[in-house]
């Protein structure tokens, strides 16, 4: 018999309580149970960054955290940060600089980029690259992504 645990978390500001199977990772829970399909699943072993979300204010790999481990936590996804307009400047810059093609990596890329935008008043292109080094993009070649983040941070 599969063990489920009653788990309560605050997702994008709303409290949710569900019985969650122990083995379900957090992004599967967000996508399958809550219908929040903005967080993507690429590799499921921590390599690609498509699943990047925020837990208690810090970016994490959603595929490397069990949903039951989020009990009592605040979880913020691309949907929440878009609705609150926190990502407005980055989204606009990504659009204008052509920093996405297929868009698969984009939610994770925006979450990782916003982590740097929040933390820093200035950042070199090297530092921007280091910060998004854990996020794969199969389309753009990264140049335009770095341009977009550079513009938002350094003006």
């Amino acid at each position: 018999m599969e063990q489920t645990l009653t788990t309560t978390m605050t997702v994008n500001g709303s409290q949710v309580t569900r019985a969650i199977p122990a083995r379900q990772h957090l992004v599967d829970f967000l996508r399958e149970e809550l219908g929040l399909t903005g967080s993507h699943i690429g590799c499921e072993h921590g390599v690609c960054g498509a699943c990047t979300i925020r837990v208690n204010g810090e970016v994490v790999r959603g595929c490397l955290m069990l949903a039951v481990q989020a009990n009592g936590c605040r979880v913020d996804t691309i949907e929440g940060l878009s609705d609150s307009k926190e990502l407005e400047r980055l989204q606009k810059a990504f659009h204008e600089k052509n920093a996405l093609q297929c868009g698969f990596c984009t939610p994770g890329m925006l979450m990782a980029a916003q982590d740097l935008v929040r933390a820093r008043k200035k950042a070199t292109r090297e530092e921007i690259r280091a910060h998004i080094s854990g996020n794969y993009c199969r389309c753009t070649g990264y140049q335009a992504i770095v341009d977009a983040i550079d513009e938002v941070i350094n003006g």
């Binding site: 122990a22 499921e44 921590g46 810090e58």
Partner: protein, 257 residues
């Protein structure tokens, strides 16, 4: 892929944790940044995951008596940001940004990294160079093991079933150097080197080189280059390539020691 099914428990006290991890098929879960990938890939199938991240008192960083004690549950990000670490253990401060990526450093823990003993990982090599003492607890009490004796082989340590690594004490070392070669920032090292100078002795620990960190204590750069054992090849790099790269790193680091 999806993880196989398992049970999950999150103990509140060490006593509860010991009882749980002694059960057959139990496995400790800390940051999950190495364990959960293996579950998702079905390379590991524990019956019970014991999540130790709720245990109190294992996430402190404290400088005292010539050493810095770091709790096992400190995340890589906490160590990276710590003023005590920056002041007394510049080697660790320099090494941390090389471990994976920010989102992984926010969850991966010091204890998990040492307990995993990946031969290409930064922290085990730093622990060996600094001559750290690892603190291990079980129902029977606490024991202390020097890093050189803790790492036994490929993903193999001195930890036994029923034991939890609770922290490590790193003797202060002001003079140090850390260099590593990777294909991409944040990857595991092709070859790396963590080194300190203490009482004029140089302690150099190589990783991504053998089945565990290799410690040399050379008097000169020539002696250092000559004393390297034959490295183990990996999927992409032959033994000869690794030996050459290790010598390059020794040259880069030497003048800083």
């Amino acid at each position: 892929m999806k993880a196989p099914s398992f049970a999950y428990a999150k103990p509140r006290t060490l006593a509860e944790a010991f009882e749980l991890i002694e059960r057959p098929g139990a496995k400790i879960l800390a940051g999950g940044q190495s364990l959960i990938p293996t579950l998702n890939m079905r390379l590991s199938a524990p019956e019970l995951l014991v999540d130790i991240t709720g245990l109190a008192g294992l996430s402190n960083i404290e400088a005292k008596n010539g050493a810095v004690r770091i709790g096992a549950l400190c995340t890589h990000a906490m160590v990276e940001r710590s003023p005590e670490v920056r002041e007394h253990l510049p080697l660790l401060a320099e090494a941390m940004p090389h471990i994976a990526h920010p989102a992984i450093r926010n969850r991966g823990t010091l204890g998990g990294s040492l307990a995993l003993a990946d031969p290409a990982a930064e922290l085990p090599a730093c622990a060996v160079a600094l001559d750290a003492v690892l603190i291990i607890a079980s129902r029977k009490g606490e024991r202390r093991v020097r890093a050189v004796e803790f790492f036994k082989g490929l993903f193999e340590t001195d930890l036994k079933q029923g034991e939890i690594l609770v922290g490590a004490e790193f003797p202060k070392a002001e003079k140090s150097a850390f260099v590593e070669l990777t294909r991409r920032h944040g990857d595991y090292a092709i070859v790396g080197l963590a080194a300190v100078t203490k009482q004029r002795e140089r302690r150099i620990s190589l990783f991504g080189f053998a089945d565990r960190p290799v410690l040399i204590r050379p008097g000169s750069l020539e002696e250092a280059k000559g004393s390297l054992p034959k490295p183990a090849a990996d999927l992409y790099h032959s033994s000869a390539t690794k030996l050459h790269l290790a010598k390059v790193l020794l040259e880069r680091a030497w003048n800083r020691l």
